[in-house]
């Protein structure tokens, strides 16, 4: 009986490919091609000379690393890279800390006005960033934050989305866990940090990944709030290669190729959390 079953499964695996699976693979392959092609051209262009940029062959006729040498030896690139890295890291740490602190408070403490506070935070999600830029700019001008790191970072130090996400997750923690810790003598901050936070690691990872990537690629607000090139973030800095008289595509693509490295590192470090986090958060990456 078992031998017959085994034989049947074996035949199915080798020759019994269902038509539905072929359609699925075809769609996935096409989707993959659509996603990978721009990245492949980005990498390809970074290996071309200025004269070869409009030669649309994927594999350059005479590949060169000269662009990488030039971009990396240009002090400005390293500066912008570090600016982006520092800003994305600080904003991510700040979000993980404050969003979860506020989310935990809203989820687990019963106080007057709790629902109103939550609604107020949630309502900010409904205002598009383009509209918020004006008050942010006026505020920055008022406090003297224009052209400063703090000016770039302050709008994202705590987000309504992150607070909402963390609140939803903290609500899933049984109150018994927190009460047991309360009886064991921990104060409220210790309960949050030692008990609640480790229980929402997947959500924290998702929040950290989204925040880091969002800030690493942020362009609009840093472009508006900065004027000195020393404070540029990487996307803003790279855009400065596109000067009116000549757009240096090969340099831009080289810079962008280098800029993907931190995102790849983040992905490799946290990949086991990414899919889980995206599923838990009910978000599309």
């Amino acid at each position: 009986m078992s031998a017959a079953t085994h034989t049947g499964e074996h035949r199915l695996n080798t020759s019994g490919i269902r038509p539905g699976r072929i359609v699925a693979w075809t769609i996935l392959l096409l989707g993959g091609l659509v996603m990978v092609t721009p990245l492949a051209f980005m990498l390809s262009t970074s290996l071309k000379t200025a004269g070869q940029v409009y030669d649309l062959r994927l594999i350059p006729a005479a590949p060169t690393l000269a662009n990488y040498v030039e971009v990396l030896s240009d002090g400005r690139f390293a500066r912008w890279f570090l600016n982006s890295l520092g800003i994305a890291t600080v904003v991510t740490v700040s979000n993980v800390f404050f969003d979860s602190l506020v989310g935990y408070t809203l989820a687990k403490f019963d106080f007057r006005g709790r629902y109103f506070v939550f609604l107020a935070i949630l309502s900010t999600l409904m205002i598009p960033t383009e509209m918020l830029v004006i008050p942010w700019y006026l505020m920055s001008a008022q406090f003297g934050w224009i052209d400063s790191y703090w000016g770039i970072m302050f709008p994202g130090m705590m987000t309504a989305f992150g607070t909402f996400l963390m609140k939803q997750f903290f609500e899933t923690i049984p109150d018994d866990f927190l009460e047991a810790a309360r009886i064991d003598g921990l104060n409220e901050f210790q309960i949050w940090w030692r008990v609640a936070m480790p229980l929402v690691t997947p959500a924290l990872s998702a929040l950290a990944i989204f925040t880091f990537l969002g800030n690493w690629t942020a362009f609009f607000w840093p472009l508006i709030v900065t004027t000195s090139s020393e404070l540029y973030t990487l996307p803003v800095g790279l855009s400065s290669f596109a000067v009116a008289e000549s757009i240096q595509w090969e340099k831009i693509m080289t810079g962008v190729s280098l800029a993907t490295i931190p995102t790849l590192v983040v992905f490799l470090l946290l990949q086991r959390y990414i899919v889980r986090g995206v599923m838990l958060a009910g978000l599309k990456g």
Binding site: P174, D176, F177, E179, A180, A181, R182, I183, D184, G185, L186, Q190, R194, V195, P198, L199, T201
Partner: protein, 345 residues
Amino acid sequence: MATIELDRLVKRYGKIEAVKGIDLHIADGEFVVLVGPSGCGKSTTLRMIAGLEDITGGTLRIGGEIVNEREPKHRNIAMVFQNYAIYPHLTVHQNIGFGLYTSKLSQSEKDKRIREAADTLGLDAYLDRRPAALSGGQRQRVAIGRAMVRNPVAFLFDEPLSNLDAQLRAQMRIEIKRLQQRLATTTVYVTHDQVEAMTMADRIVVMRDGEILQTGTPTELYENPVDTFTARFIGSPSMNLVPGRRDASGVVLGEGDIMVGVRPHDLVVRADRHPGAVLSLDGTVTAVEPLGSETLVHLDTAGRAVIATAPGKSIPPTGSRLTASAEPGSLYLFDAGSGKSLGRL
């Protein structure tokens, strides 16, 4: 170890009074079980003792000191929860040690206590495991271990065995009882399971609608229930209650001003009428539950359902007519209106 005294303790949620001014004095080292149906206020009472619920009125003393306003961590009590409340990200060793998180003891002393607790609870081999790799019973032991390491003045248990299967529940009942007797720590245990209450308690407190109906040893409650609620709540299967009235010879069943109670174990199925019986009921067998040592026989007696017992090897066929009778001294009489006890017969 300490005494726990509740004087006119009240808990209100808005207009709803969940606990209505209860008085209870628990002696040092005593094992008291609060029992009652859902919503009777037993868990709320326990949570007030723990400090997890504010006290609306009355006084709570632990070890003679008023602790109404004291934070849970300053009451030196330990609590075991229904869902264990052990942390999935920590090992058994870390979970047990969590009870000593704020302790000023040296690390070696903490380790010693953790190992002693693990040894007592048979968890030595599992100290490096995480809760996900433990059975339900082992998880509950970890929760008890965490409570033990602190050497608290009192243990509070909130339905700790509800999530276990019947066999494990029976085993853990005995383990908790033995542990409490060994440590002689004052214990307040909440359950809705009267078997747990009967088998574990030094003293049972029966609650309903935020009030204490009766307090006493398991035998006292079984033998002398103050009303029909306690009479039916304590003992398994529940006491049979049928309406009736008194007459010169004893009681007559039917319309009347009293309820006649008889426990299924005292209502025995016989081949014929027993001349010395104080109560005899003729009925049709509607169902039988063979339990091995005895058989529970469900009878329909003139439209009233009662449960009687027969010897283990005797399994009467469904639909047959039988007589069940009770010996003198086995009847409980209650007022039909108030449900209050009128004594035994």
